[in-house]
Symmetry: C2
Subunit: 193 residues, 2 copies
């Protein structure tokens, strides 16, 4: 009965994610099976596969949504916004995902990815995909090349730096604040040259 | 006798590279064997493996040298140079590799990599490695974080944009000119915000 409820319940995804992360951290990503994840979440393997294609997708299921939110933020910037301002609006929009409650999850996820070459590569590909998607959105706003590509590439750099700070154990600042700070720092670095 | 000379000759690497690129372009990377590459270059398989670990390394053997040259350029920038100026010096130093004679090779190589997911991933990993190496060098110059990371990430973006322009069929401008142009454009984009 608990299984029957959980299977369709809004929390099954979260329980599977928490169970997977716990096991990946404890015994390693390679060594963990879907059966173990499902058992730890109190669910069946079949339920796992209703939520995730495989054990790797537990870690990357959110990447597509994150990209959509950032691209949506770029699209929603005022028509008069300069490319770098539109980028900033997109990066700030990720605050919808990077909430204070998600920080522990994000930090654990990062540590698991850092420990596995295949996962690190997958994460890089997702970041590359993010840069491409931002550049495409900027072009559809009328930003020409190479400005669209340069802005998007610099944007992913800012994203990475802001993310590293956001997941720091001692950090208590919100995502948007860290994005603005990193953007301001990049501006300062470039202006100083 | 020709084989005996070529095996140790300075040109064996170049002949193997040219043979490999021709075959990868004609019949695909996956479908090409080391035996075919060696035969086309007029060399033996044994000679191939004396120069390259595998058929993928024919495409990536130069990446390490490129990284060393760029990092060396950052290291050689005057102590008083700002982080972004040191980065610019590093990127310009790649002109030693990106000579006009290498443009056709670079363009063919890029097309082969673009056609294969595994090769695209490998190329991304090399770019990530480049960003990390630049950041490390900037830190050893006394640049603090996050400035070191931000500068390096923006630098790889500039590198990618300059590279795309450099290999364009109609391009006749030198690598350094394109680097400076891309750096100036990034500066303008950021100053406009």
């Amino acid at each position: 009965m608990i299984e029957a409820m959980a299977r369709w319940g809004p929390d099954a995804t979260g329980r599977l994610q928490a169970a997977a992360l716990g096991l990946y951290a404890k015994q390693g990503f390679e060594e963990t099976t879907v059966a173990e994840i499902a058992a730890r979440a109190g669910l069946t393997e079949r339920t796992f596969f209703r939520h995730f294609a495989d054990k790797r997708e537990v870690l990357f299921a959110g990447s597509e949504r994150l990209e959509q939110i950032i691209v949506g933020g770029v699209a929603a910037a005022p028509a008069a916004a300069q490319p770098f301002e539109a980028l900033a609006a997109g990066l700030r929009a990720a605050a919808a995902v990077f909430t204070p409650e998600r920080r522990d999850y994000a930090r654990q996820r990062r540590a698991i990815i850092a420990a596995n070459a295949e996962l690190r590569e997958r994460e890089l590909i997702k970041l590359f995909s993010l840069a491409s998607a931002i550049a495409t959105q900027l072009r559809s706003r009328g930003v020409p090349d190479p400005a669209a590509g340069l802005t998007a590439e610099a944007g992913v750099g800012v994203f990475r730096v802001a993310f590293d700070r956001w997941i720091e154990k001692k950090n208590e600042r919100d995502w948007s604040v860290l994005v603005d700070e990193s953007l301001a720092e990049l501006k300062e670095i470039i202006a100083a040259a």
